[in-house]
Structures are given as C-alpha cells and as structure tokens.
C-alpha cells in the first residue's frame, strides 16, 4: 500500500430522518462526489445517490443498498466491483397503466440513451400495498401488505438472469398533505423514504443481489416555494432513472462463506472490498444509532461525525463515544460540514496527523511524566 492508494470510506446518511444534507432528493450527491474525490473510493447507499430524475455516475463511488451495507460493515459480505449489472425491472401490479408505461419508457430511455443493460421486466401478480408510518422520533417508516407477492416476482427476475433489481411500487397519493408540503419546501421528513428502504432491505435480504426502490406516484401540482433540494423529484414523471443508473454499476455482494468455499481464496479476497479495507466512516451527528455505524465502532474504524441536523438526537455524547478512553477516542473525529470531512479524509489518506492541522498544538509528553 502507498499513501496515494484510495482510502475506502463509508458515507452514511440514514433514510427518512430529514437530514439537512441528504434528507431530500439526492441533495447529498455533491457531498458524496467530494468525499469520493478525497478518498478515491466511497461506498454509499441509494438515499445519498438517488436524486429522482437527477443522478451522477462516478467510478469512485460504490452504490450499496442499506441492508447490504449493514452486512458489509459487519464483515458478513464483501463487495465485488463490476463493469455492469443486468438490472431487472420489477413493477407493482398496483401501478395504473399510464404510470406503468411511463416507467417502462424510462427503462427504454436508459437503454437507448445511456447504454444500460435492463431487463427482464416482471409485474407482481397483485398489488403489494404500501403502508406509510411515522415513528415517535419523527422518522419515516412503513411496511407492505404482500411481501410474499413481491418476493415471488423478484425471485423470478433473478432466475431469468437479472443480477440486480429495480423495484417500482405504487405509493398512496392520499398521504399527509401537510407533511408533503413541508418536505417539498425543505422543512420536513421524506415520509415515503422509510418504507422504500424497508422494501429494498427485504429484497436484498432474500436475494442477496443489489436492489433499490423507486416510488410510483401521480404528479403533484406545482409548488412555487419549492426547496431546490427537492427539485430532482419534480422534473419528471418517475424517480426510476437514478435507481437504474445506480444499480447498473452496483457491486456484487459476496457472502464471506462463499469465499471460503471456493479455490484461489487469496486472489479473490484481493479483488474484493471488505470492511477491513475501510479507512473511515462518515455519519451525521445525531444518527449514531444505526446498525452499520455500530458495526464500524466495534471494529475501531475511524468515525468522522459531521454536523448535519435531522430529526434524531442520538449523538456522540448519548452513545458514550465522547467518554471513550485510551486509543479508542483517537478514532473519533468531528467535522462541521462535508467540506471539513473531506479534509479529514484527505489527511487520513495521506497520513497527515490531524492534530498537526489544529491549533493550539500541545507539546509531546513523556510517558514517565504521567
């Protein structure tokens, strides 16, 4: 390893918690691009990269859905970068014919204009029915009425050759109007985001291939006070295009047990990304209670905690991170924003002691003085 090698970095901005950066329509993409540039290898999830109609493909970014991200962080799954996935398209039978056609046209467009490999296409045998829910914390959640129906259709796509799956389900139009208005004006939580994550978690858990979700929704009337962070969801008929682009280069997911069972293990491991390769994890202050973050803390992966207000207050103090002693606290770094986080990643990547960059700077202490 040389100091110019990439420093694989995990960027987490949890879905459905209204983060100031990343709580809207792909509005963390600029931050992700910056961190990818600083690290040379950024692993992040659809909530960060999906901007409705907007997207940004970047060879330094690995697009990894949340459930697989948890498995990766805990060391259960390795990531195998690929040139291209064959993205199967799974459509909910609850989509009206015009809305379904819009999504098929987006998929056709991605083949014709972007060169993606999309197909086969499958429609569920009946509507899967979405329930939107909100937790006491203000986070968005939800569930689906027909998980077996969804899974059966997804399994058929995988059997037919899909190596990744984009799923589009019909979301209720009658969801809370005030919540939607607040979200579009940049003051609320994305009320549909939580259940989107649940759907993709469910499919990845059962199929272990990259999956991501786009909601099927009727267009909303124009809002003259629209926050720019939500605009990516207002400029088209579907949110599918960003999902297809993300999945088309998503890494394969390889279970640890699969590697052990095969020959040439050393060669394989050298071409895969594992949690042992991680040089840093970047996460919002207040959102430190997620599964992937806890896995990274267990493994002493340097944690860069960024001020990025959302509805949660599961802070470093509440999680007892501020009271860690000895060498452990050296793995905790704080940044006021993602620009500062990029600086910290650059310092870690190039082996520049972060203490040397800050003032005041303390004199060295002799052990025998203590």
């Amino acid at each position: 390893m040389t100091i110019t090698d990439p420093l694989p970095t995990l960027l987490i901005i949890p879905t459905g918690i209204g983060c100031n950066v990343g709580g809207y329509a792909g509005d963390a993409i600029p931050a992700a691009r910056l961190l990818a540039s600083a690290s040379g290898c950024l692993i992040t999830h659809p909530n960060v990269m999906n901007g409705g109609s907007l997207y940004w493909p970047d060879n330094c970014i690995q697009y990894v859905e949340g459930y697989s991200l948890n498995l990766f962080a805990s060391g259960e799954v390795f990531l195998k970068p690929v040139r291209q996935q064959k993205v199967g398209l799974l459509l909910d039978a609850g989509l009206e014919s015009d809305l379904k056609k819009r999504h098929l046209q987006v998929a056709d467009g991605c083949v014709a204009s972007l060169g993606l490999d999309i197909g086969p296409v499958m429609t569920t045998e009946k509507a899967i029915q979405i329930n939107l829910k909100k937790g006491m914390s203000g986070s968005s959640w939800g569930n689906i009425e027909e998980p077996d129906v969804l899974l059966r259709a997804a399994e058929k796509l995988k059997q037919a050759g899909a190596t990744a799956i984009a799923v589009v389900t019909r979301f209720p139009d009658e969801s809370d109007e005030l919540e939607t208005k607040l979200y579009r004006q940049g003051h609320g939580v994305d009320i549909i985001a939580g259940v989107e994550a649940v759907i993709s978690h469910f499919l990845v858990k059962h199929l272990l291939i990259p999956c991501a979700h786009a909601p099927g929704l009727a267009p909303l009337p124009i809002d003259y006070d629209l926050d720019p962070r939500t605009s990516g969801e207002e400029i088209g008929y579907t949110f599918l295009q960003s999902v297809l682009v993300g999945l088309s280069r998503a890494p394969d997911l390889i279970y640890k047990s699969e590697i052990k069972a095969k020959e040439n293990t050393l060669f394989q491991v050298n071409t895969l990304l594992s949690n042992r390769d991680l040089g840093a994890v970047v996460v919002p202050q207040g959102a430190l209670g997620g599964e992937a973050v806890l896995s990274c803390i267990e493994r002493f992966i340097p944690l860069i905690i960024v001020s990025n207000q959302g509805v949660l207050n599961v802070s470093s103090t509440k999680m007892r991170l501020d009271s860690l002693s000895g060498n452990r606290d050296k793995n905790i770094l704080y940044a006021e924003n993602y620009i500062e986080a990029a600086g910290l990643i650059t310092a870690l990547r190039h082996a520049i002691n972060v203490k040397s960059l800050r003032r005041p700077i303390d004199c060295l202490k002799q052990l025998n003085d203590e």
Partner: protein
Amino acid sequence: MNLEFIELDLDWPFELSLFDLKNYILSKLLEYGEPLRWAITSVTTHSEKKIQLMSIEVVLIINQDKGKGINSELS
C-alpha cells in the same frame, strides 16, 4: 410472512459497553421477530437509576405462527 413496524424501549445498563451494544439489541429484537431494519432513535439518561433508556424503531419479519405472540401494545 408479515412485515411489522414496532417501537420499543430497552434499558442500556452502564456496565454494557458500546462495543457490545449491537449484539445486545439484536438479541432483544429477535424475541419479537427477525429484524429487517432498525435504529436507535433516542437515548435518555436516568442518572439516579444508573441506566440509560433506548428507544428502538424496527421493522420485523414475522412468520405467521411466530407472530401470534407479539404484543400489540408495542406497535
């Protein structure tokens, strides 16, 4: 199979290290079903009781027969 969203509170004893917290939570969630997506969504401290209380929000996979034992008050 069903997917259920529930919210529950768990004690976080002071003697339980942060480094063991994930497995502790998972072991508690498994009593209700198979955790699909979860997060700690608040932590409150009761210094007089030497305990912290965590709120967990979670979507569980419940197989039909196992689901009969779930406490609906948690939902």
